[in-house]
C-alpha cells in the first residue's frame, strides 16, 4: 500500500475528505514545500481555477511537485472541485496528470460524499495492489 499526500486550503474541504478516508496522509502545509515521501504516493489536490482554467493547481502543490525526487514517486492524482465550475471542474487533477504523466484516479466535489469515500478507499486498495504487481 502506497502513501497519500494532500493539500487543503483553510476552507478545509480536502482535509475533511482525507479525514473521512481514515487513511494515513501527509499534508502539504507551511512555507516550506512540505512532506518528503520515501514511498510511492497518490496526491489529493483541490482546484482553484478561474473561468479560463488558470491557477488550477495551488502554488503550494506546485512547490511540492517541483522536485524530481517527489515526482518520481507520484503514482496518481485525486482531484477536488465543484461541478458548478463547469468545464474546469476538478481541473487541478488534469493539469497534474498531464505534467507528471500519471492518471487522474478520481474526482470529488467539495469535501466528498459517503459514496466518494467508499469508492476511493476501494479504488486505492485495488490500485496499490496492481501497482505492486506491475513494479515487482
Amino acid at each position: 500500500m502506497g502513501g497519500l499526500v494532500y493539500y487543503s486550503s483553510r476552507s478545509g474541504n480536502t482535509a475533511r475528505f482525507v479525514q473521512a478516508l481514515g487513511l494515513p496522509a501527509d499534508r502539504i502545509a507551511g512555507p516550506d514545500a512540505g512532506p518528503a515521501p520515501t514511498l510511492p504516493f497518490v496526491l489529493i489536490c483541490p482546484t482553484f481555477a478561474d473561468g479560463e482554467g488558470r491557477g488550477a493547481v495551488p502554488k503550494q502543490v506546485i512547490r511540492f511537485l517541483n522536485d524530481p525526487a517527489r515526482r518520481d514517486l507520484l503514482r496518481g492524482v485525486i482531484a477536488g472541485g465543484n461541478r458548478n465550475f463547469g468545464t474546469t471542474f476538478a481541473l487541478a487533477g488534469d493539469v497534474i496528470a498531464r505534467k507528471c504523466d500519471v492518471p487522474v484516479l478520481y474526482r470529488f466535489e467539495l469535501a466528498g460524499t459517503a459514496t466518494d469515500i467508499a469508492r476511493v478507499r476501494d479504488g486505492l486498495d485495488i490500485f496499490w495492489r496492481t501497482q505492486c504487481l506491475t513494479t515487482a
Binding site: R10, G55, L91, P103, A114, G123
Partner: protein, 324 residues
C-alpha cells in the same frame, strides 16, 4: 443628561499589500477574472429553440426565471450589503461589494433573456405570479428574517450560504434540463456563468462563517449548527412544495428533488457541516450533471465509467515547466 459620543474610529484606506487573510485576495482575483455581462452571450440564437417549446413549458421557464430574479434581487440589495457590517477584514468588504454587484448583473440577465425570447405580457404575468406565489414568498421571507438589522451576523451568513448554494437550484435545474435536450443552449451558457459565480459566493461566505466560528465556545457552535439544520429543514419543506407546483406538470419533480438534496448537502459542506441527505436521495440525473460541467464527465480511473481515460500525453517534465 449626558451626551455619549462614540469617537469615530480612524478611517482607514484598504491596503491590498497587507492581507490578514489570503483567501480574500484569492477570491477577489477569481471573481474579477470571471466578470461577465449578459451581452456577452448570444441569447438571440435561442429564439427558434424557444419557439419549439410548448406554451406550458415556456410559461414554466419564465416563472422559474422570475423566481431566480427575486433571489438575486434580495442578495444584491440586502444580503451581501447586510454582511458588510460584520466583516473580519477590509478586503472582505471589497469582495462583498463585488458579490453584491454581480448579483445585480445576474438579476439583470434574466430580463435580457425575457426581452430576447418572450412577450411583455407573458413576462408581466410571471412577475405578478412571483409576488403571489406562497412558496417563493415564504422562502424569501425566511431568508430576509436573517438579513434584518438586528439579526445575528453568523446566522445571516448561514442564510446567505443557503440562498447562494441551495435555493437557486430548484430554478437552475430547468435550464440545465433544457440544455441536456439541446434546447435553449445559449441561455444555459448564461446560466452556467451565474452558477459559477454563485459557487464562489457560497464557498467564500461559508469560509468566512467557518473562520468566524472557529474560536467560539462549543455551546455556541452547537447552537449555530442546530439553527443551520433547522433552517435547512424549513427551506427544504418550502422548496419541495415549490418544486411540486412548478414541475409536476412536466413530470420532473422527483428529478428536481434529487438535485435539491444534492445541493443542500453541498451548501452544508460550504459551512463546514456534514451532509443531511443520504447518497441514495442525491442520485442526480447524469444528464443534469453533464449539463452542469460539460466536457468533464467522469473519466477517472476508479469510476471506470466513460471511455476517454488516457494518461496525459508524455512530455518530459522539466522543473522549469511548473509555470502555471
Amino acid at each position: 443628561m449626558k451626551d455619549i459620543i462614540t469617537p469615530r474610529p480612524v478611517p482607514r484606506a484598504i491596503n491590498w499589500n497587507r492581507l490578514q487573510d489570503d483567501k480574500d485576495l484569492e477570491v477577489w482575483n477569481r471573481l474579477t477574472v470571471n466578470f461577465w455581462l449578459p451581452e456577452k452571450v448570444p441569447l438571440s440564437n435561442d429564439v427558434q429553440s424557444w419557439a419549439s417549446l410548448r406554451p406550458d413549458e415556456q410559461a414554466l421557464t419564465i416563472r422559474v426565471f422570475t423566481g431566480l430574479t427575486l433571489l438575486d434581487t434580495i442578495q444584491n440589495a440586502l444580503g451581501a450589503p447586510a454582511m458588510l457590517a460584520d466583516v473580519q477584514t477590509p478586503h472582505e468588504e471589497a469582495v462583498l461589494t463585488n458579490i453584491a454587484f454581480m448579483e445585480a448583473v445576474h438579476a439583470r440577465s434574466y430580463s435580457s433573456i425575457f426581452s430576447t425570447l418572450c412577450s411583455t405580457k407573458e413576462v408581466d404575468e410571471a412577475f405578478r405570479w412571483s409576488e403571489d406565489n406562497p412558496h417563493l414568498q415564504a422562502k424569501a421571507r425566511l431568508i430576509l428574517d436573517q438579513y434584518d438589522a438586528g439579526a445575528d451576523p453568523l446566522r445571516r451568513k448561514i442564510a446567505s450560504v443557503f440562498l447562494e448554494s441551495f435555493l437557486f437550484y430548484s430554478g437552475f435545474y430547468l435550464p440545465m434540463y433544457w440544455s441536456s435536450r439541446a434546447k435553449l443552449t445559449n441561455t444555459a451558457d448564461l446560466i452556467r456563468l451565474i452558477i459559477r459565480d454563485e459557487a464562489i459566493h457560497g464557498y467564500y461566505i461559508g469560509y468566512k462563517f467557518q473562520r468566524a466560528t472557529e474560536r467560539l465556545p462549543q455551546a455556541e457552535k452547537d447552537a449555530l449548527k442546530d439553527f443551520a439544520f433547522a433552517l435547512m429543514f424549513d427551506l427544504y419543506e418550502i422548496e419541495a412544495r415549490y418544486a411540486e407546483e412548478l414541475y409536476d406538470g412536466i413530470g420532473l419533480t422527483e428529478d428536481v428533488k434529487a438535485f435539491l438534496h444534492y445541493n443542500a448537502n453541498k451548501a452544508l459542506q460550504n459551512l463546514g457541516y456534514e451532509a443531511l441527505f443520504p447518497p441514495a436521495a442525491c442520485d442526480v440525473n447524469p444528464a443534469i450533471l453533464a449539463a452542469l460541467s460539460p466536457d468533464s464527465e467522469n473519466h477517472d480511473f476508479f469510476s471506470g465509467s466513460g471511455s476517454s481515460y488516457v494518461i496525459g500525453k508524455t512530455v518530459a517534465t522539466e522543473d522549469t515547466d511548473w509555470d502555471f
